[in-house]
Symmetry: C3
Subunit: 346 residues, 3 copies
Amino acid sequence: MPAPARLGEIVAALGGELRGDGEVAISRLAPLESADAGSLSFLANPRYAAQLATTLAAAVIVAPAFADAAAARGAAVVSPEPYLYFARLTQWWAARQRPAAAAGVHPSAVIEPGARVHPSASIGPLVVIGAGAEIAAGAVIGAHGIVGAGAMVGEGTRLHPRVTLADHCRIGARGILHSGAVIGADGFGFAPSQGRWEKIEQLGAVRIGDDVEIGANTCIDRGALDDTLIEDGVKLDNLIQVGHNVRIGAYTAIAGCVGIAGSARIGRHCTVGGAAIILGHLEVVDHVHISAGTAVTRSIRKPGTYSGLFPFDDNASWEKNAATLRQLYSLRDRLRALERRQAQQP
Amino acid sequence: MPAPARLGEIVAALGGELRGDGEVAISRLAPLESADAGSLSFLANPRYAAQLATTLAAAVIVAPAFADAAAARGAAVVSPEPYLYFARLTQWWAARQRPAAAAGVHPSAVIEPGARVHPSASIGPLVVIGAGAEIAAGAVIGAHGIVGAGAMVGEGTRLHPRVTLADHCRIGARGILHSGAVIGADGFGFAPSQGRWEKIEQLGAVRIGDDVEIGANTCIDRGALDDTLIEDGVKLDNLIQVGHNVRIGAYTAIAGCVGIAGSARIGRHCTVGGAAIILGHLEVVDHVHISAGTAVTRSIRKPGTYSGLFPFDDNASWEKNAATLRQLYSLRDRLRALERRQAQQP
Amino acid sequence: MPAPARLGEIVAALGGELRGDGEVAISRLAPLESADAGSLSFLANPRYAAQLATTLAAAVIVAPAFADAAAARGAAVVSPEPYLYFARLTQWWAARQRPAAAAGVHPSAVIEPGARVHPSASIGPLVVIGAGAEIAAGAVIGAHGIVGAGAMVGEGTRLHPRVTLADHCRIGARGILHSGAVIGADGFGFAPSQGRWEKIEQLGAVRIGDDVEIGANTCIDRGALDDTLIEDGVKLDNLIQVGHNVRIGAYTAIAGCVGIAGSARIGRHCTVGGAAIILGHLEVVDHVHISAGTAVTRSIRKPGTYSGLFPFDDNASWEKNAATLRQLYSLRDRLRALERRQAQQP
């Protein structure tokens, strides 16, 4: 546990308008409802404004509209975008309390001949760096990382422990890859041949832009002929499957357990909810939002929000409705017949 | 293959009433239908009672109601709960045939300064234990395990090969973590900022109680500010995603491929079927059972069984019904119109 | 980048009828639309025949029906099955440009006493081979691989970096396992006991046939008493969960994110689309095709294609239809009432 920060020190680093006592000691960041007298908290959503009156926080980050209410109860930091301020505060806080990775190569790491590791990079215990791979300045390869032959890790990018970046795959600057992620396994490609499957070797790789974050145990397959592409600023959560030759546009964010089949193209600034699936060879344009659990089975050519999820219910109700659903088409026919007969009546 | 056990030896260890010859040699455990003359089998579900007459098993574990039928055909063990007896028997059997992990640290492991490893713990090949981590008595860290800085592994807990327990995460006593599990990767948190995503550093950790089992390649994210909590006795299958700040109540069991979004609270003694999803910030009370494939999109405040799954069908039938489903709302309107007209008729 | 191949060299190796100049230099394989003057391309689907006229490819692999059209624009290889020819070409190409793994054991690997490693096998950096394990001729165990005690890897099988093959599990010849795959973690088995779960130790293993490919981070659990079985020629994509005692028939192919619950039996020559789920203890016969996202909740006894997926829509339409769906059963009753009244009318 590091020493507390003074509120004034935070405002000096991150900006915002200080209201009240800058000497207030901040020991932790906390939500309004679980904050204590050593906590700095924030009000991002006006829906929770009532909590301002009851929180025990030492200080609260608020938008200008709540500045007076916050200052009336204690110290406050006023910022036009409190949630963004809070995000930056977490970064400042983490940098303060987490030790930086030491530059240099751990003696237990295996560096193959021809690999180039920048002296300011940090290579952890039991890492394997393949022949011809390149690790740029300030990159961190956590324990047990594997960087394949000819692969590239950009400046300041961090591979948490146990990440696999396969041969010839590349990631840009300031990326974050979480444990268990597998970048560059073979895409799933086979030609049928007399009831068997003949493997199509996957000759492409994976290319990942700058500022990309990839979650734990997420897989991004290498391309069949061309590369699979993840553009700048994409954020992928855990346990996502990205098939070969998919292209994900810049600043798109995708929640956990999503599956994206081969050659799908997803636009920029999209969001995809958890456990959604996107079939192969589809195109989704920019600014599309797909709800959790939705199966996208055809291209989406218009920005907007799309959904498709069976509503859940108590089991008995669901059973009755689901059984009826299997006869929905015939219900429609019966309805039509009734309409016709009624139309013939006087 | 170890030497066979005598049936009497098993009853001496696990209890139950022995009927017939305790000298019978048991070479393996087997279901009734594939049992042979060296097998010990069990009848847990009365539905399979007819198999008592045909099984080749040397002996059968049965409930009192089947004691005479079982004894009439050969040796038997009578127990009020045959399935529970069988579970304990598998434990006894496994302990007998699997060599215990040797205490001590494998010479290839990397133990960072300040880590505390109990002398009775077993640290396998190529394990990495971070600074300040603590491994309690009798714990087993399998090959390639990673225990982060400041993390804690409780008494007798076993990490199978290749488990990642990230910095400052804790697991209690008698736990089992399977290969590829990632405990404590960052939760998925970002503040939007001018079309980009600003990372919210995840400052919490993961706290796991006693007697918890976590499946292969399952991910449990660390909390944003507070910790993600898994209470005592929880059982998680493979490839499950548990988002940041989720709380899973004691003795809840969750099947494979389930996704639980951030800040969801799941009660005690619940079960969740495979590939279900639970959206974020919901609450599910104790004793709720969620069927496989169900998407829980709002809180569940009443114990019971809940479902929501599109019924599958042959493709042609499904296509017709699914197409009609997209006009369901207008079908309802047409039905309403018919009802109104009919109500006006004499 | 290796030296270009001559087209004639390819035809000499793989067969087919050469039309045009065999001296043409081939630097890469590419789809028709992104091919350049150094590319060899292929026309597998007649739907894309128009691209023959516009592609920049140096040469094209075509079926006899397109031989003249292809030859009219440049060099061509004529084969009755262009897609299969292309698949074999990718294999030839990969063999040519990827260095073979060097036979022998990397000095950083840990080989437990009693393990048998064939001298022609390749054991990569930081691999762990357990006591009594057997690695056959020509097998390749990539960096960080774990082969458990008593496990077996067949001739020519390749484990990409970071694969876990647990104790006593076996894979046959010519298999490919991708990074993060976990073969042989415990199946999910517990006996309920007074509100808690008593573990059923999983005493079986996993047996995998020849020519099987298993994707990144896919899990196949070991059997409870008998073994989990994957027959010859099965192809599994990434992030698939295969429960204990499942049996997957020969030459069945399963796409990413699929979940198969315990003791399900899937026939031969089946295909399963991405993110489908198959419940436990079901039987699916040979030659069944299950669409993506489908939940198979009962046995399938007839070959054919089966589907079950909520159609997605713009969010507003979906909301209306989904809400109505929860009253579907009562709609059916109202329809029935209307029909009855109408039947009574003159």
